[in-house]
């Protein structure tokens, strides 16, 4: 077991080194922007997976927290000053705000059953979208506004490394979180809430913790997103953001942290590639259809996503290998080997 963990850590470190070296080998601007985008949405999708994959609750209001982060950073950078200090401060304020709101919303809504919760989160995020659209003096509504990023992040490369570092930190933090005693209880809630309750855990309490953690991380992703575009409008609060996070989590694999990252890479890359294809074949302008169909098929046939399905295959293969070592080839496979 020990050997296996270090193998996994080795794989991660190798991947990390590749991503660190990559911009120096291939300094294409498109690639850099694409990777930055993948990392940011990877953070968002990981935070969504804390809810969907680890606690087993479907929220349709995740864009709300993403939007809070994006707007906090954008508004502060525009109205105060575009320094690094303000940027860091805005991230912290956005996270506190998102944490507070997700605490309140969670306390009100998480006692409800899944259907009602899904709808109520949809309603709340709708409310925030309307708020953002109406509060024009600050948000400029749907037109949005541009702002200056901190000087340090003018260089795409610096920003890329900043996002990559954030991704690693958040990944490790969330990894610690889901493997902590609290994280274990979240998984217990997912598996059987009634039984967890009978064991004496206040499940509402733990669900609120999950929603606060997810909200805070989503707000952080939003802050990064705003700086990466240097522009913000109400689309950061829109349903599409939640759908993206949902799609990435489902396709990558629910209940894992690597899954959403992989999902983010797949979706962002596919969006990038399909919008390129759209120039030649107009049908690809409607790439959402392909995602929608892919997503429906994934829910029916691969509810565990890419990582989950691979992991299942791996365990099956290992089990077979072990069995073979002790008892020889499995009975049904004997014929094939003869």
């Amino acid at each position: 077991m020990n050997n296996k963990i270090s193998l996994r850590a080795f794989a991660f470190i190798l991947l990390l080194i590749i991503f660190i070296i990559l911009p120096f080998v291939n300094d294409s601007r498109t690639l850099l922007i694409l990777l930055t985008q993948i990392f940011i949405f990877g953070i968002l999708a990981m935070s969504y997976d804390i809810l969907l994959g680890y606690t087993g609750i479907v929220s349709f209001g995740h864009a709300m927290f993403f939007g809070i982060g994006a707007y906090t950073t954008a508004v502060m950078l525009k109205q105060m000053d575009h320094t690094l200090l303000i940027f860091v401060l805005s991230i912290v304020i956005g996270m506190v705000l998102a944490g507070f709101i997700s605490f309140l919303v969670g306390l009100l809504t998480l006692r409800l059953k899944s259907h009602f919760f899904a709808m109520l989160t949809l309603a709340f995020s709708g409310l925030f979208l309307v708020l953002a659209e109406k509060w024009r003096s600050v948000t400029y509504g749907n037109d949005g506004f541009t702002f200056r990023a901190p000087d340090l992040f003018r260089d795409r490369m610096t920003f890329y490394f900043f996002v990559l570092a954030s991704l690693v930190v958040i990944f490790l933090a969330l990894y610690r979180f889901v493997n902590s005693p609290t994280g274990r209880i979240l998984i217990a809630v997912r598996e059987n809430e009634q039984r967890t309750k009978s064991l004496g855990f206040n499940t509402l309490h733990y669900k609120v913790i999950a929603s606060v953690v997810a909200g805070i991380v989503a707000s952080f992703a939003g802050s990064l997103y705003a700086v990466s575009l240097r522009f913000v409008n109400t689309s950061v609060m829109a349903m599409d953001i939640t759908l993206d996070a949902l799609l990435m989590t489902i396709i990558g694999g629910v209940g894992t942290l690597v899954g959403p990252l992989l999902g983010s890479a797949v979706i962002e890359y596919a969006q990038h590639a399909l919008s390129g294809l759209a120039r030649d074949y107009p049908i690809f302008e409607r790439w959402i259809i392909f995602f929608g169909i892919l997503y429906i098929l994934a829910v029916i046939f691969f509810p565990k996503g890419i990582i989950g399905s691979l992991r299942l295959l791996f365990w099956k293969w290992r089990g077979r290998l072990k069995q073979r070592k002790t008892t020889g080839p499995l009975p049904q496979e004997k014929e094939r080997f003869e």
């Binding site: 969907l52 087993g56 479907v58 349709f60 009100l108 809504t109 006692r111 409800l112 899944s114 259907h115 009602f116 899904a118 709808m119 109520l120 949809l122 309603a123 709340f124 709708g126 409310l127 309307v130 708020l131 109406k134 349903m239 759908l243 949902l246 489902i250 049908i283 409607r286 959402i288 259809i289 995602f291 929608g292 169909i293 997503y295 429906i296 829910v299 029916i300 509810p303």
Partner: protein
């Protein structure tokens, strides 16, 4: 006075359209325990299919029939291929119907083009009546009448006919109804088709009312439908009528007196109801706790 009447008629007309949308949702939820997030997709397909039939044949009635047939057919496909595989798993249902919603909405853009379509009211329903100094727009009255007629028909069917008896039995206790020899899966299918057809009809009637149809309207009105279902109580047919009227009136009065809040009022209404009375205002009693 005339302002009050106009606001009430506006609210009632909007309420009726939302009721038609919500009626299908609530029936499907009550019977099958499925919350159909794709209902707005059926709504918008009804609107587009109906309007295109109407434009081709130049008959509004044929357009309405076209919408209903489209809705029922889509309902059939949805139930068979989308709902059945995930039956009984709430989270998967929510996820998959939302995916279908996306696909339906985008398919509209592929089939009918991405731009909105302007819709004209048929000549015999256009215009208005003047009674004293109160102006009543014909089409709004038409919607209100249709809404009440459909409510009447369904209420009669549910309460007085054998079909209604089966549906009500299914809502109360699926397993028991099945044990008594009712092919509950088939009942599910029919109820789903009827619900989808109602959504499509609602979309079709909405088109001349709002004057323009576009692909995203499905999601917008579906959210209103959800709100109504929640306020009225999941699975309660008459509850959804009352809640729809409430939402319609609240919307029309707020739009006049406090326009800033007009979009938010429904969300606030739903949040309040859910927090203080999560089973809805007019919910039926159900023995099951799950």
């Amino acid at each position: 006075m005339e302002l009050l009447v106009n606001l009430i008629i506006n609210g009632l007309a909007t309420g009726m359209l939302i009721f038609l949308l919500a009626a299908g949702l609530t029936l499907i939820f009550g019977l099958m325990d499925v919350l159909n997030f794709a209902h707005g997709g059926l709504f918008v397909w009804g609107a587009y299919a109906g309007i295109f039939t109407y434009m081709l044949t130049e008959s509004f009635i044929v357009g309405i029939i076209g919408a209903i047939v489209t809705g029922a057919l889509l309902g059939l496909l949805t139930e068979k291929f989308i709902i059945t595989p995930v039956y009984g798993n709430h989270i998967q249902q929510i996820l998959i119907t939302l995916g279908l919603m996306l696909v339906l909405q985008e398919l509209i853009k592929v089939v009918f083009g991405p731009n909105g379509v302007a819709v004209k009211t048929p000549s015999y329903l256009a215009g208005s009546w003047e009674i004293g100094d109160v102006i009543i727009i014909k089409y709004r009255l038409f919607i209100i009448v249709i809404g009440f007629v459909i409510f009447g028909i369904f209420q009669y069917m549910l309460k007085r006919t054998k079909i209604g008896l089966i549906v009500r039995a299914g809502v109360q206790d699926k397993e028991m109804a099945q044990a008594l020899g009712i092919h509950i899966k088939r009942v599910f299918l029919y109820v789903f088709m009827v619900g989808a057809a109602l959504a499509a009809l609602s979309g079709m009637l909405m088109a001349p009312y709002s004057g323009v149809i576009y692909a995203e309207m499905g999601m917008e009105y579906a959210i209103l439908g959800f709100i109504v279902v929640v306020i009225g109580g999941m699975g309660s047919f008459s509850g959804s009528l009352l809640a729809a009227i409430l939402v319609g009136l609240a919307g029309s009065f707020m739009a006049y007196y406090v326009p800033v809040l007009s979009l938010a009022v429904n969300m606030i209404l739903m949040a309040i109801v859910l927090i203080f009375r999560p089973q809805g205002l007019f919910a039926m009693r159900k023995e099951r706790t799950s």
